[in-house]
């Protein structure tokens, strides 16, 4: 294999890996926003998933138990946001920000409390090469969700909740229950994305390891025009820039490493700005019912 082909293969594989956690979180964002709840807490749910997965893998020795716990932790925070947004009708942006602060602080507190080791956890049993299953599953998930949203009664009702919850209620359904379901699923997906970061890509949790991916995922939701397949595609786009940063390191010495680190964030800004007048959010997105 020539050097160029090997490099392209590396870049392609890395793109898939880096896109996976963003894709899971972005799918969570799509489900939540389609039901009418803006999930700013995706970042915190990823942190919770990443940290909890490491704790449970350390305690049980099984990375699968860690993965399940990570998903559950994300879902739990999803429940918190869901109850806050439906029962208490709070400002979803403020509540989501609170979740992000709690999760970041909680993981840092937990590192000291559980591992007696601030900053980063010790190494734990990770998924190893079977993490590729999760990469493939992200693709499968986006197809399944796409079909569920556009070809099932549940999907139709969920989307109706995000457009006109009153009409859903008039049809004899419970919009708040549908929203709660959606945001719990959203948290579970973000938790899965977080767990992929900690026990998939590597084998430990360190403070700040999610590095704003939950917010990049929100950008991916918009870039993907609130559809699962679109969001997955946008995740690939952002994953590519993250992968590029690793491939360029050591190969393009003229480009400072700090500039490479900023690449995914700059890409997200350009993606947001490039969509002027061409996207439309669900009509009732972010409005309490």
């Amino acid at each position: 294999m020539s050097g160029g082909a090997a490099l392209a293969l590396t870049l392609g594989a890395l793109t898939l890996i880096k896109a996976t956690p963003i894709a899971y979180a972005a799918l969570g964002g799509v489900v939540s926003e389609r039901s009418g709840i803006i999930n700013i807490g995706l970042e915190g749910m990823m942190i919770a998933g990443a940290f909890t997965a490491v704790v449970f893998s350390a305690m049980s020795g099984s990375p699968l138990a860690g993965l399940a716990a990570g998903i559950a932790a994300g879902a739990l925070l999803g429940l918190v946001l869901g109850v806050a947004a439906t029962t208490f009708k709070v400002d979803q942006i403020v509540a989501g920000t609170g979740i992000n602060l709690v999760a970041a602080g909680g993981a840092a507190y937990g590192l000291t409390l559980i591992f007696n080791q601030p900053g980063a956890s010790p190494q734990v049993n990770a998924l190893g090469s079977s993490f590729w299953i999760l990469v493939a599953a992200a693709g499968a998930c986006s197809i399944v969700l796409h079909v569920a949203l556009y070809r099932t009664a549940w999907g139709l009702r969920l989307r109706a909740c995000g457009e006109n919850p009153r009409a859903v209620q008039d049809a004899g359904l419970l919009p708040l229950r549908l929203r709660l379901q959606a945001v719990i699923l959203s948290g579970a997906l973000a938790g899965l994305g977080g767990a992929f970061l900690s026990i998939g890509e590597v084998n430990l949790y360190s403070d700040g390891m999610t590095a704003g991916r939950g917010f990049i995922a929100l950008a991916a939701v918009i870039f993907g025009r609130w559809t699962p397949l679109g969001a997955a595609g946008a995740a690939l786009f952002f994953g590519f820039f993250e992968a590029l940063q690793y491939v360029l390191q050591g190969r393009a010495s003229w480009l400072p490493s700090d500039a490479m680190q900023a690449l995914p964030y700059v890409a997200a800004l350009f993606a947001l700005a490039g969509l002027v007048g061409r996207v439309r959010a669900p009509a009732a997105d972010g409005i309490p019912y």
């Binding site: 926003e33 803006i38 700013i40 918190v80 806050a84 208490f88 009708k89 709070v90 400002d91 942006i93 403020v94 509540a95 920000t97 609170g98 979740i99 992000n100 602060l101 709690v102 999760a103 970041a104 602080g105 909680g106 840092a108 507190y109 590192l111 000291t112 409390l113 601030p118 590095a211 704003g212 917010f215 990049i216 929100l218 950008a219 918009i222 400072p256 700090d258 500039a259 680190q261 900023a262 964030y265 700059v266 997200a268 800004l269 947001l272 700005a273 490039g274 969509l275 002027v276 007048g277 996207v279 439309r280 959010a281 997105d285 972010g286 409005i287």
Partner: protein, 341 residues
Amino acid sequence: MKRAAALAGGPAGAILLAFVLAAIAMLVAGVSPADGFSALFLGSLGGRNQIAETLVQTTALLFPALGVALAFRAGLFNIGAEGQLMIGGLAAGAVGAQLDAPGAVAAVAILAAGFAGGAAWGALAGWLRARFSASEIISTLMLNFIALSLASYLVSGPLKASEASGAQTAPLPAASWLPALIPGTRLSIAFLIALATAGVLAWLLARTVFGYELRACGAAPEAARRSGIDMARMTLLALGLSGGIAGLGGATIVEGVLHRFNTQLSPGYGYTAIAVALVGDLHPLWICLAAFGFGILESGGLAMQALADVPKDAIHVIEGLIVLVLAARRYVATRAQTVPL
């Protein structure tokens, strides 16, 4: 009277809740709350040096919290105070290390540079929203990471002090440092500047046409638009001013505490500032009190960790829970739904 009742139901209740939560966090860590709280308060208010350090933290939180509050009042969710603080500090450090001017002139010029740097960073998000409908929630957060990369690049390259081994700018000449408020401590007159800024902001919001229009954009965007307020201009101004105030805070840390710029400028003041602004009911004068409360937590947290073995990060969990609880009061005025998110 009405305001006092609102405070009892909201911020005051939240502070009471914070104490309960802190006690739980201490119990979880296996420490008696009596020991934990005594360490917290001795470490933050137990003497002249401790009080000075608490006021240093209060100052560092007050600037970005005022900036955040201003944007919130305009209906804009600026979560980029961290990046605006960083760029303000960077601009202050860059100008301060190069500037050859008499002390007082230099001191003012450095503060102005910090304000301008933060304002530019905030206005960038404002421009992206006004011109391209890019959600300021995402763009300000992205700009936090970009600010850190930019600062990290500049201090390890072009702006690096030639003699220094670490990544930082050259020190500011001593003549341009902010004078100490309590000699022998890190507390400078930055504290007074922060209080003055709060006063000016309170006046601006309550007593000027600009402040009225700004609040109108947050409280009733549709009515504001129909009454002829230029929303694009207000978005740009509000986020620019919000960033400028945070940037001013960054400059005072450079000029009053570090006396040079490096990327360790902030341990997350810009994020904690969101909690401070909400606890302060988005009102500049209450925010001063809230910043003092959080200043106690920040400076006492270290003592609590050292003396009572309660991890300092417990403080940040408590801050987040307060924000969650306060969310119920619908602080952020009706957000304009014109931007897709």
